[in-house]
C-alpha cells in the first residue's frame, strides 16, 4: 500500500474516532438538557422524583440533571420538590399572560411556591416578591384555600410577579411532608394553574 494511502486511512480512522467522541458527548449533553430521566414522575403538569426513587440513589442522568438545574437539592425524606413550566392545560406558562394558581394548604412543616425566570433565577420585580409560603400567603375565607396571581401586571393580593422575562417556571417545596401527603401526592393535592388573560 502506498504511504499516502496509509496516511489517508489513518486520518479517516482518527476522524471517525473523533466523530464518535463528539456524538457520544453531544448525546450526553442533549440528554441532560432534555430534563427527562428514568427517575422522573409526572403528576398532572407537575414533575417530581419517582415515588420509589431518590436523589441519592437516582440514575447517573438524574444526578447530572439535578447538578446542573437544581444543584444541592435534598433527598425526598427531607423535601419533595415539584416543578412545572406549564399551566394545568399543559400549555407553556407565558410571562405576558395572567394565571391564577389555586390550591389548599399542604400537609408539610413548610411549603412554598416560587417563580423563576428562564435561567432558574428569581425574577426582578417592583415589590421584591418571589414566592408565597404557608405563612405569608393570604388565605380565602375558609382559611385553607388560596389563590395566587401569577402575572406581569400588579394585582391587589397574592401577586407573584413575572416581569420582563422570557419564560416562567414554578417550584413547589414541601419540607418535612406528612407521611399521608408523601404517600398520596396526587394532582388533587397540588395547586392548579389556570390562564385568565
Amino acid at each position: 500500500m502506498a504511504l499516502n494511502q496509509k496516511i489517508k486511512k489513518i486520518a479517516v480512522g482518527l476522524g471517525l474516532v473523533l466523530l464518535a467522541i463528539l456524538i457520544g458527548s453531544g448525546a450526553g449533553i442533549y440528554s441532560i438538557k432534555s430534563g427527562k430521566s428514568d427517575s422522573q414522575r409526572i403528576i398532572g403538569n407537575w414533575q417530581t422524583v419517582d415515588k420509589d426513587k431518590d436523589l441519592s440513589t437516582a440514575d447517573l442522568l438524574t444526578i447530572a440533571q439535578i447538578a446542573v438545574y437544581r444543584p444541592y437539592a435534598l433527598t425526598k425524606k427531607e423535601v419533595i420538590y415539584l416543578s412545572t413550566n406549564t399551566d394545568s392545560d399543559g400549555n407553556a406558562l407565558d410571562p405576558k399572560s395572567d394565571y391564577v394558581i389555586s390550591g389548599k394548604k399542604l400537609d408539610a412543616k413548610y411549603w412554598s411556591i416560587t417563580a423563576y425566570d428562564e435561567n432558574g433565577f428569581l425574577i426582578k420585580n417592583p415589590i421584591n416578591k418571589y414566592s408565597y409560603n404557608l405563612e405569608n400567603v393570604k388565605y380565602q375565607a375558609d382559611s385553607t384555600s388560596y389563590k395566587i396571581n401569577l402575572s406581569g401586571t400588579e394585582k391587589k393580593e397574592n401577586w407573584l410577579p413575572t416581569n420582563n422575562i422570557k419564560k416562567t417556571g414554578l417550584i413547589i417545596r414541601l419540607y418535612l411532608p406528612s407521611e399521608k401527603l408523601r404517600e398520596n401526592l396526587t394532582i388533587e393535592e397540588l395547586p392548579s394553574i389556570q390562564k385568565v388573560k
Binding site: L60, L74, E78, T114
Partner: protein
Amino acid sequence: MAAIKPIIKKGIFALVLVIIAVSFYYLTIWITPYYVQSKFAEKSLGYVNTPRFGDQPNAENSRVIPLPNPDFLYSTINYDLKDNVLKISGIVPDSTYWSISAYQENTTNYFVENEEQVKSKFEYYLAEEGSKSEVLKNIPKEKIIYSPTTKGLILFRYLVSKAYPVKQLSGLQHGVSVVKLVK
C-alpha cells in the same frame, strides 16, 4: 476468505466506534456533576474549610446557583478534608426550619439533619470516609459525618419566618464556627 477479512475488520472498527460513543455518553453524564461542583467551588476560592454566610436571596444577589429559595438564609462550607478533620458547631433555632446537609463532590446529598432531630446546639466532626484520625477517638458516632469524597460542600438552611425574622436568624447563622483539626 481474503474478501471477508476486510469486512470483518470494518465491522470490528464500527463496533469500536459505537463503544467509544457510548463510553463518552456515560462519561459526559458522570463528569458533569463534578464539573458543576468545581465551578461553584471556584467561586469560593480562598474560603476552603471556612464558613460563608449568605444574605436572604433576591433577584440581585443570587445569580450563581439556580433555584435559590428566597425564604432561606444559606450558609456554606466548601470543604477539603485532605489535611484536616473539621469541627463544625453552632446554635439551632427552635421553632423554624433549620438543617445542615452535606454534599459529596458530585453534588449528591449524603447527610441531612434538621431542627427536629438536633436540639438547641449542634457539634459535628466532618471527616473522610474510613478516617482513623486520632481526633475522632472519644467522639460519639452520631456526631461524626463521614464524607464519601475528600471535597464537598456543607449547606445550612435557615427558614425566615414570623418566629425568626432575618435579623434574629442572621445572628444564629453567623454563630457557626469551623475549627480545623489536624488529622
